[in-house]
Amino acid sequence: MDDFLAARLQMAFSLGFHIVFACIGMVMPFFMSVAHFYWLRTKKVVYRDVTKAWSKGVAIFFATGAVSGTVLSFELGLLWPKFMEHAGPIFGMPFSLEGTAFFIEAIALGFYLYGWNRLNPWFHWATGVVVGISGLLSGILVVAANAWMNSPAGFDYIDGQYLNIDPIKAMFNEAWFSQSLHMCIAAFVSTGFAVAGIHALMILKGKSVKFHSTAFKIAAVFGTAAACLQPLSGDISAKDVAKRQPEKLAAMEAHFHTERFAPLIIGGIPDTTNQKVDYAIKIPGLLSFMATGDFNGEVQGLDRVPKADQPPVAVTHYAFQIMVGMGMAMVLIAVLYFIALWKKKDWLRSRWLLKLFVIATPLGFIALEAGWTVTEVGRQPWIIRGVMRTADAVTPMPGIAYSFYLFTAVYISLAVIVSLLLFRQISMVDKLYDSANQSKDEQL
């Protein structure tokens, strides 16, 4: 395997791994705080039980996210030293702020996990909220740094030199808002659906039903509400990408030719040599409308981009289709769930709705990874769009393939162990967390 490909794959793997843990680590604290709030308000023990069980999950995911994040802060230099040499001082601002946010999160988590029966109850609750808010802020800041790679700002690039650096302008680049918004909502959708799905499965199995139903409801409300907001944020992103990175939109849509009244291409197999898409569903004019707000608006195709600057079409297109497909499926489930909540209360007790949630458990994370692929692969061949090529940024050290194998093995084993841990936490709910169950045992 050549070193450049190995470096890209290692980075992709590391980020793909980190993103899951980071998202759960930043969203679960909110679920936990809601449950905790109900416990303090209603004094119903089931809420305390759910809070305690979820806080274990937060601890596991936070720790794993923290180490994978530490690794990433080194990998940037280990794999892309030329990039970091120039980009570090420009897009470093969000990272320096993120350092603070992350630190606060770690401190707040210390208070929270060890604070039961030690702190004032509402102060204790507030530390849990701080975990969530600082986690969310970290996420926004890191994505703002990534947005800078898509939309470089805050410097002048003159004769190969990076002059007049302004880190604040770099942080508030044109893409920071749309990207951060989309990422944060995605974190809520994917975590909400994953958590709801697992609890739905336990309800279907008839284990600690009251406990799991309470947990399911909190996660499902967060996940479904976020799923319904996500298309709106997606629309903001699409219009933004169309304006800023037309080549990325063209690759996402496998849109080869610049045209007005451009069709939305759904599915299909892009054929780059003949510049067409086979077996696709085409909805005339819709792409123009989505990108420009006008059915007759012109959408730039890949033909306007020099061959050497075109992103890979197939990967970007497929990833985009997967993301949108999963997103739409989750919106559908969300709509059904809302109908159940407001109109058809009996649906809430039905098995089919729970089964749908079980099936949807991984959908959010699949969409999340696919979306991440779209934004990263769609930026290629650039690491800083229009300024530095990814191939020029890679480390001169040979043998990166071995490093890739090593890290892949480590991440796969970690994923296996974390899954095992999670499985054990869930299967032990009745013994460790569900006090309703425990008191029943005592009576017997």
Binding site: T70, P89, G92, G99, F102, S403, L406
Partner: protein
């Protein structure tokens, strides 16, 4: 503002060695504890380490961020030529961080503990070892940007007796810090006596490893003695550390845990000061005699200014919260009515 940034960099490195180091030390001690005492050692250690465990490791992230934002040339040079020890250290960090959480949060306590515990203790050993290697390699002058073969560019940049000796020395410092920390956590006189005995042995171990560093430096033709004892401030720092060591033996015998911790922190700070002052503002010495300096290789004005402000504002949030966290969990458990 550049000096504000440098002070933050130095302080985060020091705090990582002290706090993160004590954590690593906990694992190292577990490795070198006889089977009968293992459970007791572990229980005493984690009672105190738990709440601040994650926070201790944030200092490394702060240091790395300061390096890559403010001093990108230094960060990338280290990343390229010390790639291999950095990867080893990272593997240690991953293994240790996750194993620690896994063994505390696995709902079923079974044979998996036998998997987590060795991972935890051995990664506690290798992480500071490679950290020491990296630190030593940055000043041993073996990083050679002109090298054109793999071995001399990426292996001999860090593999020499001096670096290995500093790696071992770092491990011994971590063990020492952990033992000093634990003495204040013991709740019976017998346990205290047990750890005081260990602490005395640890002090001799650190001194022995320190001597190894000087021998290795001599063998590698590194003028370490001139670096450390050549400057007046460096010399004063070492003398101060030696005097505090005498006070430390007094404190060990008189049961003064807070004084002990302050002294241990002071000694490590003085060692780091003496080691870094001699080259300041240079931080990486290259084979071709070209040194990378924190002053000459700093980022542009606005970068350093915004980094400095971000750190100052950040510390306004972090430090009080951290101090309160440590305070709350150090005082005897005050039970608030069960809620």
């Amino acid at each position: 503002m550049i000096y504000v940034v440098i002070i933050f960099l130095w302080t985060s490195i020091l705090l990582y060695i002290l706090l993160g180091g004590a954590d690593f030390g906990a694992g190292i001690i577990e490795l070198f504890t006889s089977k009968t005492n293992k459970a007791k050692t572990r229980k005493t250690m984690y009672k105190a380490i738990g709440p601040i465990w994650e926070a201790n490791h944030m200092w490394l992230i702060i240091a790395v961020v300061i390096l890559f934002v403010g001093f990108p040339k230094i960060y990338t040079t280290i990343s390229v030529y010390l790639h291999i020890p950095l990867v080893c250290m990272l593997l240690g960090i991953i293994a240790r961080g996750t194993a620690f959480v896994f063994r505390n949060y696995d709902a079923v306590k079974d044979d998996m503990q036998k998997v987590y515990t060795p991972i935890f203790v051995y990664s506690s050993l290798i992480t500071p070892f490679f950290l020491g290697i990296i630190a030593a390699s940055s000043v041993s002058g073996q990083i050679d940007p002109q090298a054109n073969d793999f071995i001399s560019a990426y292996i001999f940049s860090w593999l020499n007796w001096f670096s290995v000796a500093v790696g071992i020395f770092t491990v011994s410092i971590c063990g020492f810090l952990a033992i000093i920390f634990i003495i204040g956590q013991t709740d019976s006189d017998g346990d205290r006596q047990h750890f005081v005995g260990k602490a005395k042995r640890a002090i001799f171990m650190v001194m022995f490893c320190g001597a190894l560093v000087f021998i290795a430096a001599y063998a590698e033709h590194i003028p370490l003695a001139t670096w450390i004892f050549g400057d007046t401030p460096g010399l004063i720092a070492i003398i101060a550390a030696s005097i505090s060591l005498i006070i430390m033996f007094y404190a060990l015998n008189k049961d003064k845990p807070i004084l002990l911790r302050l002294l241990a922190g002071f000694q490590v700070a003085m060692i780091l000061f003496a080691a870094t002052y001699t080259h300041f503002p240079d931080i990486v010495l290259l084979k071709n005699g070209e040194n990378l300096s924190l002053v000459a290789h700093q980022g542009q004005v606005k970068t350093i200014a915004s980094l400095g402000y971000a750190l100052l504002i950040g510390s306004l949030f972090i430090l009080p919260a951290l101090v309160y966290l440590i305070y709350i969990f150090q005082k005897p458990k005050a039970v608030v009515a069960d809620h």
